[in-house]
Amino acid sequence: MITFNDVSLVYPNGTQGLKNINVEINEGEFVVIVGLSGAGKSTFIRSVNRMVTPTDGELLVNGENIIPKKGKELRKLRTSVGMIFQNYNLVNRSSVIKNTISGRLGHTGTIRSVFNLYPKADKKLAFENLKRVHMEEKIYNRADELSGGQQQRVSIARVLTQEPSIILADEPVASLDPPTSHQVMTYLRRVNKEDNITTIVNLHFIDMAMEYADRIIGMRDGEIVFDGLVNEVEEKTFEQIYNRPIREEDLRGSENDASASGE
């Protein structure tokens, strides 16, 4: 469970990332955060694994306030909160399996990880997770030899290898085409349901949010302007969140509809 109590964040340059956020995300929920770029979606998500640090308030993850955490405590938090990025952020020159096993770093001693002395169970876990996203045939390929969709699937395998209780995904499909986007969202959704991992995804495509989310949170200017289950949402809701009429670029399009790509 994740609880935001009056959380605010002001960046050193004075930009207000979050303004008095109060929200509770339950275990096993699949939450999609929508909003225009600059609305604070990334800041919200990155606060949960403390890639950014809120300047005010209290942020509880699994019952503990994570804002004052540092050093070892912080790394422990990060092992239980996995993260997926818009640009996949795989280490380009390393192999697929090496990228995947790096999900175990937080659980592995420094010396062991430097010499690749992972326990057999960890290696098996990494391989099994690659199998789950159907990447088991490419384990020795270098990450930069893969297509965007394949790289994002490897990054899902990396996150799963962390065995996290929460997965954060920051615009995971913004760099992908519509069919691949649906594939990646389907994997995230399946992992969420099968492993009961709380999942928070940032998206700016309305149709994808509607298709995959249990619950939608809308953000504008660092504030939550909508919070509700997906069946409470209608087109007017998005117009309120975006503060403007819906355009075609806000839609990703269906799985077979390559022409509706927002790129």
């Binding site: 422990k76 280490v91 020159r93 770093l105």
Partner: protein
């Protein structure tokens, strides 16, 4: 719409100056001034140092005469030069190894992608800059006075000299890595050493190997010069033979050296091409 707007604007500028020119007038003027200044510095320096290029041409025959005294090379002397040559290469190998090892922490500490603390970063940057301002031959002279004639001062001088160079090259490479790859490793809960090993090393390794080989090549050549101030190696015997005016022996050593340097650089170039 946009291109046309731009065209109109250029048209206006051109008609205003009423000339068609690739460079603006102001740039042309500046370049002319700079050339004039550089040339006057040349002539001033030539006059003040009393360097006379005409003398060089009028005494060309003297130079040839000296050159001819180097031939034929005294091949039998190569025998005696082999050991010092090996010593030179050993100095280069040891110095390169030391500097490669020491430069790793140095360059990490002076890269702003790793060290976020401004003061720490600046301190290490400055240490590195000071290292690089010291000429190798000066270092060698100082160390020879400390440790006496031999290979130890050569190794120390080259280690320090190549450390400055390597740390600079490597830290600048580390500053150009993709921070997002590092961020991903950080988000898995890895500690700083794991983040460096998994997120930074793969990105800089090919360049690092290439720099190491390049510095090794430099060190082979530099250790030669250091021999002249008593830092061991083949430079010492060239110095001795020059003093005795044994030009034929010197020539033999130079040819041996040329071959050795070509062989080393060919191997090192081939290795470098393979890693990058």
């Amino acid at each position: 719409m946009m291109p046309q707007l731009q065209e109109n604007k250029t048209d206006k500028v051109m008609t205003k100056n009423s000339v068609y020119s690739v460079y603006p007038k102001k740039v042309k003027f500046q370049i002319t001034i700079i050339f004039a200044i550089v040339f006057s510095i040349y002539f001033y320096s030539l006059r003040e140092t009393e360097a006379d290029f005409l003398e060089f041409f009028s005494e060309l025959n003297l130079i040839f005469e000296k050159l001819l005294r180097m031939f034929p090379p005294e091949w039998s002397y190569i025998q005696a030069a082999i050991d010092p040559l090996i010593e030179t290469i050993q100095i280069a190998v040891v110095a390169t190894t030391f500097s490669v090892l020491i430069c790793i922490p140095m360059s990490l500490l002076s890269a702003n992608t790793i060290v976020k603390n401004k003061y720490l970063y600046q301190t290490f940057r400055n240490i590195m800059n000071i290292l690089r301002t010291m000429p190798d031959i000066l270092l060698a002279t100082i160390f020879v006075s400390f440790f006496g004639i031999g290979i130890v001062p050569g190794i120390l001088a080259l280690t320090i000299f190549s450390l400055g160079l390597l740390a600079k090259l490597l830290s600048e490479t580390i500053e150009t890595i993709d921070p997002r790859q590092m961020e991903a490793i950080r988000s898995t809960g890895g500690n700083i050493i794991q983040v460096i090993w998994y997120g930074v090393v793969p990105q800089v390794l090919p360049n690092f190997i290439s720099y190491g080989l390049y510095v090794f090549e430099l060190n082979v050549r530099a250790s030669l010069v250091l021999g002249f101030v008593g830092a061991g190696g083949i430079g010492s015997i060239i110095d001795t033979q020059l003093n005795f005016m044994q030009y034929q022996k010197v020539m033999a050593v130079l040819i041996l050296l040329l071959v050795a340097v070509i062989v080393i650089e060919t191997i090192s170039n081939a290795l470098r091409r393979r890693v990058v």
